[in-house]
Symmetry: C2
């Protein structure tokens, strides 16, 4: 299969939905502008694409998944805006563009993040997009997403990441940070697809293993790219982790072992889909794509 | 009826639930501490109490409402933490105590707010508390809360409030700010109670009118107290609105007319409950209590 075409087609479906959903301006102009600036700053929409691919792998057949999958990108965007704030990672550049607070100031950047996070839950609870998807499954999927994003998920990872800067390197701590900050929401993305497709418990379990594997691998590859990547290709400053003394896989395991770890995670993730038909081929291909990406 | 006892009993039910729900620490210690510091800083729990009173007015009979009503306080607490930030209102004092960023620093204050907001949606989608409450009603109520809190609700109000500082006083703008920043979530609180009780559309409509009325009155009274109140009694700095040139009802209408406006709003709100039995007496009494409060 042509995985690049698949990724691009799904990305376009997500972009097109997000444009339509957010275009109507019934909010203060500057808030609206800041929300859209970050939402359309050129993300790969990998979380929504994973949700769609998982939905299809679990037997889902319609486009109904697109709005709910898109909500994942809305949450991801909020997290990037807040992570970049001066009080957090203090980053000036994101996806090759000035960060939100650089363009709109801290006040609006904080509020744009708050708004996107809240609006994501409005979208995830909007039953006007439900036809074959069951409302009770939607509630269950929303719950998974909220747990993965909250104080025992993504926010815990970000808090620990910042609290651990300049501290003694510790492999358990590093794993805690990566699993909470990145893996949890990626895993919740594929779970969302499976739940909304009405996937059986054993399918959901297999999908979760896949999600945990690719989610952690995704962050290990990110760490490697931060050392080896090209600032222009990545759209953010290479070497920034070392500069802020962040704990990373390369800093604790070295580049070569980090590469082996990510390969093993991806290979195990693909193995966990053994019981799935060729409908799961996009999930398999995406796993390999994430391993070999350059940005 | 003894409204003070009613308010206190319901407040205790909410406090007791929130203690149990958040006590288990499976998050970074400082994040956990900051979340609980603000959550238990002595709020009156007026939004949850309104949700419970509305649930009872609409025929709800069980304690099942308490967890979902409590989620409103979790959202309210997030909004206070973020509103107090240096990049927002830059307040040092809240409910008589140092604000979150004064105690924990900006990084943790932002993350504690993010975590509380997200966790509120985890709580609102947690079906383990549902027995007689329908899951589809829970999803509907969650949707109302998210709309009232998001970019076309509370966040819009806060954004416009800050963007309007030092601008030419404008009654329409003032109403926009108050309706979005305060009224929307108070109205959503009583709607949540009605929806979870399975209230009919005409009941929901009446409850919404009541919510809009008391929600706006609540903020007008807040504006008056900011001018006339006592810093110690209120637990926050009196006169702070005038100092930052905030648009308020007293600054645009004068104290006397502001008082008349709030009285009329409360009286209309009570009238909109005409079709309700004595089960709605707590809602009626709360309206009068909000009008006559001193903090």
């Amino acid at each position: 299969m042509d995985i690049k075409k698949y990724l691009n087609d799904k990305k376009e479906a997500v972009d097109s939905f997000l444009h339509a959903y957010f275009k109507e301006q019934r909010r203060p102009a500057l808030l609206h502008e800041a929300m859209l600036y970050s939402l359309f700053a050129g993300g790969k929409r990998i979380r929504p694409v994973l949700a769609i691919a998982s939905y299809e792998a679990c037997g889902g057949k319609s486009d109904e998944i697109v709005p709910y999958a898109s909500a994942l990108e809305v949450i991801h965007t909020y997290s990037l805006i807040h992570d970049d704030l001066p009080a957090m990672d203090n980053d000036d550049l994101r996806r090759g563009k000035p960060t939100s607070h650089k363009v709109y100031g801290e006040t609006i950047a904080i509020l744009a993040g708050d708004a996107l996070l809240t609006d994501a839950f409005s979208l995830l609870s909007d039953t006007t997009f439900c036809h074959t998807i069951k409302e009770t499954d939607l509630l269950k999927a929303l719950h998974e997403i909220s747990i993965a994003s909250g104080s025992m998920g993504m926010v815990a990872g970000q808090a620990q990441d910042i609290l651990s800067e300049n501290s003694v390197p510790d492999k358990n701590m590093l794993q805690f940070i990566h699993i909470h900050k990145t893996t949890a929401i990626i895993c919740a993305s594929v779970k969302l697809g499976c739940i909304l497709a009405g996937g059986k418990p054993e399918k959901l379990e297999a999908i979760s293993s896949y999600g945990m594997g690719i989610g952690l691998a995704f962050q290990v590859v990110d760490d490697i790219l931060n050392v080896e990547g090209d600032t222009k290709e990545m759209g953010k400053a290479a070497g920034s982790d070392a500069k802020t003394n962040k704990m990373t896989y390369p800093s604790l395991y070295g580049i070569e072992e980090s590469r082996q770890i990510s390969k093993k995670l991806i290979s195990d993730a693909i193995d966990s889909l053994a019981s799935f038909s060729s409908a799961a081929d996009p999930l398999r291909e995406i796993a390999l794509y994430l391993l070999n990406r350059r940005n």
